[in-house]
């Protein structure tokens, strides 16, 4: 399969972030087209495209929009989730830095479709300072050209965007955590229902969409739902950005129709593994996704196929781990991440993630107890499904999958008090865990 250049069409151009580059490539044509349609027609077009959200959950975008009540007493808000913090994911930053107008045009069209309040927000993670400055400049350009502001292109539709910087909290990528954070609070997820589509930010109905999702919207409007469905397979449609990192020769963001095989992606497009080492495990969809083994990679990277394989496409952050890495060490690092990022609200997640991290650490140190993997499985059972948001479920994914698939390597640590020969640990054990 050949890589495509649809979402990434402008990335190679020298001034790809300027409005002139975007307009020269046919940018803001979709907006004109959309404003001549009714909001219902726009929603129908996106529904027809069968696009599923690119943030991780893969929920159909058009359906999400149609949940917004029509005559709510409070304003409806459109929020862009640009908190991209899932380890292994770095696609949204590329869109924002290299082609910010694609996102902006997508937001204006989406805002029109859901009858958004005149103010909408991009919640960008605080660390993305450069992307933030690029967006601010792009927004100023769009205001100057009349694409943002009052009575956009004479349509009577008022719409503007504010970029809101987060401050370093993974949990704010969870949509209700994001909403809390935007309201000026700690980003602790809310009890659902009510879902954000009914009561979201500032008490109004709220749609939260990922950057890549919103960037697809102008493409759908410009080229039609049928064109969009021409990429990928039914129910898993469209061009898709895949992020590949870890043990590959050519890590990076790759764009393919949404059915590229994981094997082909790693071995043909990313150049395979350095020094031709053997593949050990692949995380197909960011740190939250359960691991796949080398025998399980002959699979198309669609939401449905990866789920059927027991993992999830998530944010399409593919992390490749080769035979030289100690699996316990790798899983420990992910556990440390989840322990650090647990918001502290639900006891099973707050206590469980920290406990899992310390048990994995002691196994790695050669101080593990014989039944520690059973203990980890037991803990996982008591974390999964027992917290308000998906962080707890995410935290157990790598732990359960690695114990099931690499049980012998865990057991080696118990019997030999060290890592499997030929594998290495990437840190000095003297270091204490820092939270």
């Amino acid at each position: 399969m050949q890589p495509i250049r649809v979402l990434s069409a402008n990335w190679g151009k020298p001034d790809s972030m300027l409005i002139s580059t975007y307009v020269d490539g046919g940018g803001y044509e979709a907006l004109k087209k959309a404003l001549a349609m009714t909001p219902e027609q726009v929603i129908q077009e996106v529904k027809d495209s069968e696009m599923r959200g690119r943030g991780g959950a893969g929920f159909p975008t058009g359906m999400k929009w149609s949940f917004v009540p029509k005559n709510a007493p409070k304003p409806t808000y459109l929020l862009c989730n640009a908190d991209e913090s899932e380890p292994g994911t770095f696609k949204d930053r590329q869109i924002m830095e290299k082609d910010p107008h694609m996102l902006i045009e997508g937001m204006i069209i989406s805002g029109y479709a859901i009858a958004s309040s005149p103010m909408s927000y991009i919640y960008i993670r605080g660390e993305f300072y450069y992307a933030f400055t690029v967006l601010e400049k792009a927004l100023a350009e769009a205001r100057e050209k009349g694409f943002l502001g009052k009575n956009i292109l004479g349509s009577g539709f008022d719409f503007d965007i504010t970029v809101h910087r987060g401050a370093g909290a993974y949990i704010c990528g969870e949509e209700t955590g994001l909403i809390e954070s935007l309201e000026g609070k700690r980003g602790q997820p809310r009890v659902k229902p009510p879902f954000p589509a009914v009561v979201g930010v500032f008490g109004g109905p709220t749609v939260v969409n990922n950057v890549e999702t919103l960037a697809c919207v102008p493409l759908i409007l410009k080229n039609g739902a049928a064109w969009f469905k021409g990429f990928g397979v039914p129910k898993n449609t469209g061009p898709k950005l895949y992020c590949v990192s870890g043990h590959v020769r050519k890590p990076g963001v790759y764009e393919f129709p949404m059915d590229i095989s994981l094997k082909e992606l790693i071995y043909e497009h990313c150049g395979g593994i350095p020094e031709d080492r053997k593949l050990k495990a692949v995380i197909p969809g960011g740190a939250s996704a359960p691991m796949l083994t080398a025998d399980e990679i002959d699979l198309p990277l669609t939401f449905d196929a990866v789920m059927k394989a027991g993992s999830m496409l998530g944010s399409a952050g593919v992390i490749v781990i080769d035979e030289s890495a100690c699996i316990v060490d790798s899983v420990w690092r992910l556990s440390k991440f989840f322990a650090h990022e647990s918001c502290g609200q639900c006891t099973p997640c707050r206590e469980g993630t920290n406990w899992m991290e310390s048990v994995l650490d002691r196994i790695e140190r050669g101080e593990g107890r014989e039944h520690d993997h059973d203990l980890l499985m037991d803990m996982s059972e008591n974390i999964g499904g027992k917290s308000l948001c998906a962080l707890g479920d995410a935290a157990i994914g790598p732990v359960i999958s690695s114990i099931k698939k690499f049980r012998a390597e865990y057991e080696y640590h118990f019997t030999h008090k060290t890592c499997l020969p030929g594998t290495r640990r990437y840190r000095r054990l003297g270091m204490a865990a820092v939270h």
Partner: protein, 176 residues
């Protein structure tokens, strides 16, 4: 103020000096008013205003907490609760160059811990501490979203990608 034991390391840090009155300088004040105009509630302006305060004073001191709580009509406890929840608000002063090393999985697989260890040894610094000349602070951070260019070190607002010990040494030599 009396309820913390004097040996508690936070006893001195967590309370504002009532003699210190802060106000935003005119340029920051202008930005603050623009921020307020972008949100339907005052509280929603808290995160951006904290960023603004940190740009202005370098860290979120107890005096800043008090000042912002007055500006935004929130309790100091609410403001402090937010400050302590988020990683990026510095609760103590940091060096002129704040070196943040990503050690999450994708960076770790490309030896970011070697970079992190090297930094600690070279600057003889504990994580979170600042050199006596006030120049450098080191911190281990979670995924920075730049995994294809691992290992990544963020210095203040800028990402430095595909770092090696050699390129890091060169970079440090250039930081005056």
């Amino acid at each position: 103020m009396a309820d913390l034991h004097p040996d508690n390391p936070y006893a001195r840090d967590r309370f504002a000096d009532p003699a210190t009155q802060l106000t935003f300088p005119p340029e920051a004040q202008e930005k603050f008013e623009w921020i307020l105009s972008r949100y339907p509630t005052k509280m929603a302006a808290l995160l951006p205003t904290l960023h603004l305060a940190q740009e202005t004073w370098g860290w979120i001191s107890p005096e800043v907490v008090l000042y912002l709580s007055e500006l935004l009509e929130l309790s100091p406890a609410t403001v402090f609760g937010v400050v302590s929840f988020y990683n990026m608000y510095n609760q103590k002063p940091v060096g002129k160059y704040f070196l943040q090393v990503c050690t999450n999985l994708s960076c770790m697989l490309r030896d970011s811990y070697q970079i992190y260890d090297h930094l600690q040894e070279k600057l003889s610094l504990e994580p979170g501490a600042t050199t006596s000349d006030g120049k450098f602070t080191i911190m281990e951070v979670e995924c920075l979203g730049s995994c294809d260019t691992a290992p990544v070190v963020q210095i203040n607002n800028d990402y430095h990608e595909q770092m090696t010990i050699e390129s890091l040494d060169q970079l440090l030599d250039g930081l005056k």
